[in-house]
Point group: C2
């Protein structure tokens, strides 16, 4: 009998297959089929209103408190960021809590306080909630599911269909910190690193970019589960373009590299929760980098491009490729198997 | 150290305390403070649009397949019904799945198919989702969290502030079936009852009532966790009125009564998922009952009223009371402790 494996939840190939074979198959509708982080919905009948963006995420991260954040903050920022990369201004969150019998009341209070702080920082309100308690052993401590509702920023049109040869791939800072922080925290204190999650809200800076650069911004996605590499694969597939990631250009902190070497992980596949991959028109890219720098995102960098027919990669056809540090080029794949369960 | 108990999730006194002490305390805002099943949110800046209603619910029911429904159908109807009792027309759902490693792929497919059928029946689309898989033993099979977005039906103003002495309490059918079906299913096949959950969508019939009766409908709530009794207590507290439930008038099927006697349960505290408690102006009540009957809700009944100062109860002050079958009157309390964990 076919059974669900940890890989089905890892954000890579198996997750993608499961979503298509089960959920898309049954729920088929154009909003879900876009397979983006948020569904963008039309205004209602007779509304002159803006479109809505809606998203949901389940958070099962372990440990629930980790260097640089906790499950509550992660839930708020993760949901806000999914709205932000859809070009929406986050407005409202809902939060459902599934709690194991015996969970410490003080820890729940600490998580709720952290969510409230995160919500204030991100400019959203938690307007509805639900609480379920299951018997000891029926869940692992605390799971939180947040959903978000936002309103599309007027004039924004983000779409992989607008991604064209020559466009630049920009990341707003160093990658791998959230995933590395969780994996190191699981090793215990003796592991001796001080890597902190990059968990932070993106909505403010993305709204600035969208307003300032308009159509110069083509596509946004936050590289969470599956990491930057999987996000680049999704971009290439969705746009039907040849997309090249330059390994050497990707900012990865030394301590993240060190931890990855010890733990046998690839930082390009590590989850982030304060990062966004931006596809920008080449002429908009210098101003984009300047705006990111002004916003304090000082490790922002161009990490790749959509290949043109004139360049070396022109004849390679659609797909995602990695130009390695050593100068070789290889096909980039989605995360396969389960590099890291319960990272978010 | 204070710890979370099953009672904190049962929908009664402990749940209410937890929500106030932890979640309301930290997330404080007028939408959440209403403590209704859905938050009703204003249209956005410059919108001429209708208000939105937003809700969320976690479903941890066990067993996941039960007579009359399954966790997927329950999630869809539960969420749709929370929007409907807020006076909204349900439009969109999101669904997050937390799945235990080793869960049968075919069962997940069956649940998704059931959700899709339920969504079609309720006229909503599942527009966004998320899937997480946790290690064997870290959750019990499958949890589903659904959130819903609806649009307020124009002209509707439901509020406990509009509930006045003389108003009638109407239930749309027999109570206790969902809770009894789950509890009997847990006893195994030998238990020998054939009680089926009443799991069904309310949005269509409630929209008809609201459009036809307008301000004649004062307040709506679906008596899920905590049952009809807890809902009446919530009504009395929220309205600041003396509310009397007539035990003899409450339709309870014989098999539900029988199962309750064997299992030591009180049917007034059993969860429902296709029932609604309606507070109506006395002059609207005959037409309300006729409309419910036309909609096939043929066990609909007046089960109580808001006491007037002329009546026997007039001097008792605000609160919820039960006039028992034997003619006595007692204070009605919320569910205390955990009559039934994981009923939804």
């Amino acid at each position: 009998m076919k059974r669900i494996t940890l890989g089905h939840g890892a954000g890579g190939t198996l997750t993608s297959d499961l979503v298509r074979q089960v959920f898309l198959h049954h729920f088929m509708n154009p909003y879900l089929e876009a397979l983006s982080d948020s569904a963008v919905l039309p205004p209602g009948d007779g509304d002159s209103a803006t479109s809505l963006a809606v998203t949901t995420d389940a958070f099962v991260v372990t440990p629930i408190f980790f260097p640089g954040g906790d499950i509550g903050e992660l839930a708020v920022f993760g949901t806000v960021n999914d709205l932000a990369v859809a070009g929406a201004r986050p407005a409202y969150l809902t939060a459902s809590f599934i709690i194991e019998e015996g969970f410490a009341y003080a820890d729940l209070d600490r998580v709720a306080a952290s969510m409230a702080r995160a919500a204030r920082r991100a400019g959203v309100q938690v307007v509805a909630g639900d609480t379920k308690v299951v018997e000891r052993g029926s869940c692992d401590g605390l799971f939180i599911v947040t959903s978000g509702v936002g309103r599309l920023i007027p004039g924004v049109s983000l779409s992989s269909a607008r991604v064209l040869p020559g466009d630049c791939l920009v990341i707003n800072g160093a990658v791998g910190q959230h995933g590395a922080a969780i994996m190191c925290a699981r090793q215990g204190e003796d592991f001796g690193t001080s890597i902190r999650s990059d968990c932070s809200p993106l909505a403010g800076v993305l709204e600035t970019l969208l307003v300032e650069l308009g159509e110069g911004i083509k596509w946004l996605r936050d590289p969470t589960r599956g990491g930057l590499a999987t996000t680049v694969v999704e971009l290439a597939e969705s746009a039907g373009q040849c997309v090249v990631l330059e390994e050497e250009a990707v900012p990865i902190p030394d301590d993240v590299c060190g931890a990855c070497e010890m733990l046998g992980l690839d930082p390009l596949y590590l989850a982030n929760e304060g990062k966004v991959l931006i596809v920008a028109a080449p002429e908009a890219t210098p101003r984009l980098l300047a705006l990111l720098s002004e916003a304090g995102q000082d490790q922002a960098a161009v990490v790749g491009q959509v290949a043109t027919s004139q360049g070396m990669m022109g004849s390679w056809g659609a797909g995602a490729y990695l130009r390695t540090r050593l100068g070789g080029t290889k096909t980039l794949d989605r995360l396969t198997g389960h590099q890291m369960p319960r990272i978010c």
